[in-house]
Amino acid sequence: MRKWLSREARQASLPWRKALTGAIIAAGFLSPAIAQAAAPAGCAALQAKYPGWKGKTLVNAVNPHTPGYEAIDPKDPSKYVGFDIDLGEQIGECLGFTLTYKPVVFAALLTTLASGQADIVISDIYATKERAKAADFITYSKVFDGVLVAKGNPKKITGINTSMCGAAAAENTGFVEVPLVQDLMPKCKAEGKPEPTLQLYENNANCIQAILAGRADTYVNDVNTVDQAVKANPDKLEKAIAVTIPYSVGIAVPKDKPEFRDAVMAALIEIQKAGIHMDLLKKWELDVNNFKEPDILSAD
């Protein structure tokens, strides 16, 4: 709590940030209003079309280590907050179900879904063909990654390219960035440079700590996550660059429930039509360019 306040105070020292902070706080106050706003008009029709989930309580598996998307609320640790959390609640409201949360490590998100211990995964997970073998995805956001490095970028890293040769990259187990770094290995070798090494951790905080402790040189992840880390440690960390990577973020649902998948997609469309998706991006200070109309990605 104390820390939270001090951070706000720090932000307030910059005039333009002050305005922004005010906007965020205002948005924070508005958020209950958004959450409690009557569901978009089309939702009544959807509940009639897909009555199977009305009144149910579903389990949303999350990896709550990504502030802005999903993390516990520092002011009330019994709650999860973030863009994904709000979006999930909106979908639930539209289809008539409520959500409870199951926190798991990132690599266990899809296994938890597949074993039936969870019904849905809305946790900033990138939809890839590989992952579509384990679950169906409804994509809802474009992906921009940030390259986190120590202040001053001592290794002069310029992206996921041969500037990473010989560097130690921290990554989360199961993240799509892992194979991207692995793909660099033969390229570095071809240029006669040492290969990058990978350090796999269980969550975001551990990856960031690895850079702070000097164990790793870089950590590539969602740009908002990287920004949050820089904001928390402005003297020690910086974002070297933002890169686009060819994936979309998706909501994962069980492969054997196509009707549920279609219902979630239809609800997402209604939410986007009502402008709620865009409001949520703004509320959570995310780049509105992330916005994406939904598609379904499933295994061939």
Binding site: R2, K3, H65, A71, V105, A108, T111, S115
Partner: protein, 539 residues
């Protein structure tokens, strides 16, 4: 610091403790139950349960707990078992703890002195009574430190439940660190919370050790002696405190009984004539027993009549102890028969072997008492309980009757003033006298004494022999004694049997054999024993 204190008192983290404790309790409780079953299977007489238990240990001790957690949580639902996360974590922890706890239990059980187990069997205790009254109370005492270890380890291992979404302390800590970036304050706070929990386990362990310390009741052992900075050597102090009452006793009590009178030659002849008319008490026929390729008993025959005292002499390894242990069926043999009071101990009428439980009941009803070289008193029980306990557990006496009988017998062996002492606070001679009282308590028809004075310091031998002498002469008890005390055999035994290499070389009236041995081996053995005596006298 203020952040650290803030997180230390944060209800969100404190609530995590509850789940940590739930998973730990499930793991330890379930592990204990499963561990008991596994230990029982491993100690079983049958090979199949032992092999299954071994196989279980290989799998669950040999794979990481984190995999077992994920398996219980994510794999079991595929076969229709969808446990809530806390139960899945508890199940995995229990399955993982079980083989460790089973090994602790097994070590505890096997660590109990085998001699005490033999003594319990000889008293007619069934395996269940033996386990409950003799083995478990001692094993549990030795297992407490190991169990304390295991509890601390389970408590820490419960943090792995974080991988399957149990909101315990560790998972709450990492999530909080992710959303606040206060990495170290949070981890120090949750570390301290873990320390408080494991500290509480240590305190419980020390408290239990103190509660179950046998010396707590007999002597002033204070709880503070267990504090780590008190350098009280728990064993040395006992040895010291033991001396004091002994010395006092030696002064206060000029040792007990006047010596029994010796029989005259005429009385001996009369006694022999009476015994010859008595029924047979023990009949051993053509007894064969091998240990591997080595023959221990080679066709041994021995008949003992009611009221007769037979001394078994012979060099070490000649089969004296084995013969005694076969007579009350503490050991199996290869061929031949043993009858006590006309019954084949350990076999049904048709020759089939009885279960250990049935053998125990038969031992109790036939009444074969046994006194061992190493005394084999139940070390966790007082002198009185050593005598009274078996009367209650085996013969169903009331506490009042058993206590009365125990007091009477301790009085007879001159130890009523030490009734409440633990065996380890008694001298060897006193322990052996208690052991004799214990063997006599159920009124056995035959008393077997296996070198009853061999483990005693020379100055303590007399008091024990005196007790035995009285039993023979005053009570007319049927006894078979293996001994190296030639003079004692001469005075007490009606008959002497000289064993060599598992069979009887020579037997006959005690005085006759001992003074005029016919077999050269007997003669040589006797002269060696006599020479030893002479040497000792010179020293």
């Amino acid at each position: 610091m203020s952040l650290f204190l803030h997180y230390l008192s944060l209800p969100y983290l404190l609530e995590g403790i509850e789940l940590t404790l739930q998973v730990t309790a499930l793991g330890l409780g379930g592990g204990l139950i499963l561990g008991l079953v596994l230990a029982w299977m491993q100690l079983s007489r049958f090979w199949l349960p032992a092999a299954l238990a071994r196989g279980y240990a290989v799998i669950f001790r040999g794979t990481p707990l984190i995999l077992q957690m994920v398996f219980a949580y994510d794999a079991l639902p595929h076969i229709g078992i969808k446990l809530p996360a806390v139960l899945a974590a508890g199940l995995a922890l229990a399955c993982n703890e079980a083989p460790f706890i089973a090994e602790m239990l097994r070590a505890g059980v096997l660590g109990v002195d085998r001699g005490q187990v033999s003594a319990g069997q000889a008293l007619g205790m069934t395996p269940a009574v033996l386990m409950r009254r003799v083995i478990a109370p001692q094993a549990i005492r030795t297992m407490i430190p190991a169990f304390g270890n295991e509890s601390v380890s389970a408590l820490k291992n419960s943090s792995l439940a974080s991988v399957i979404a149990v909101q315990e302390l560790t998972l709450r800590g990492t999530q909080l660190a992710s959303s606040t970036f206060d990495f170290f304050s949070i981890f120090f706070a949750s570390g301290l919370l873990y320390l408080l929990l494991t500290g509480a386990v240590s305190a419980i362990q020390l408290g239990l050790e103190w509660l179950l310390d046998l010396d707590r009741t007999t002597r002033a052992r204070r709880l503070t002696d267990y504090l780590p900075w008190r350098r009280v050597d728990l064993t040395a102090k006992l040895a010291f405190s033991e001396k004091a009452p002994l010395a006092a006793e030696a002064v206060a009590q000029p040792e007990i009984m006047p010596p029994a009178r010796l029989l005259t030659r005429a009385e001996r002849a009369k006694r022999a004539a009476t015994i010859a008319r008595n029924n047979v008490a023990v009949a051993v026929k053509d007894l064969h027993k091998n240990y591997g390729a080595q023959a221990v008993l080679g066709g041994l025959d021995l008949t003992v009549r009611i009221g007769e005292v037979v001394a078994l002499l012979g060099p070490s390894g000649s089969g004296k102890s084995t013969l005694l242990r076969c007579i009350n069926h503490l050991e199996d043999w290869d061929s031949g028969t043993v009858r006590v009071g006309g019954r084949r101990l350990g076999f049904r009428d048709d020759g089939k072997r009885l279960s250990p439980q049935a053998v125990a009941n038969e031992r109790a009803s036939v009444g074969v008492g046994m006194v061992f070289q190493q005394f084999n008193l139940f070390s966790h029980l007082s002198a009185k309980e050593n005598v009274a306990g078996p009367l209650r557990w085996v013969h169903g006496m009331t506490r009042l009757d058993a206590d009365r009988r125990a007091c009477e017998l301790l009085d007879r062996v001159g130890l009523s003033h030490r009734a409440h002492a633990l065996p380890r606070h008694l001298s060897g001679g006193q322990q052996q006298r208690v052991a004799i009282a214990r063997a006599l308590a159920p009124n056995p028809s035959v008393l077997l004494l296996d070198e009853p004075t061999s483990a005693l310091d020379p100055e303590l031998v007399t008091e024990v022999l005196e007790v035995i002498r009285r039993l023979a002469i005053d009570d007319g008890l049927t006894m078979i004694i293996s001994t190296h005390q030639i003079r004692f055999a001469d005075e007490v035994a009606d008959r002497v049997a000289f064993l060599s290499a598992g069979s009887i070389l020579e037997e006959g009236p005690a005085h006759e054999v001992l003074t005029h041995p016919r077999h050269p081996l007997t003669a040589r053995f006797l002269s060696v024993m006599q020479a030893d005596k002479a040497l000792e006298a010179v020293r």
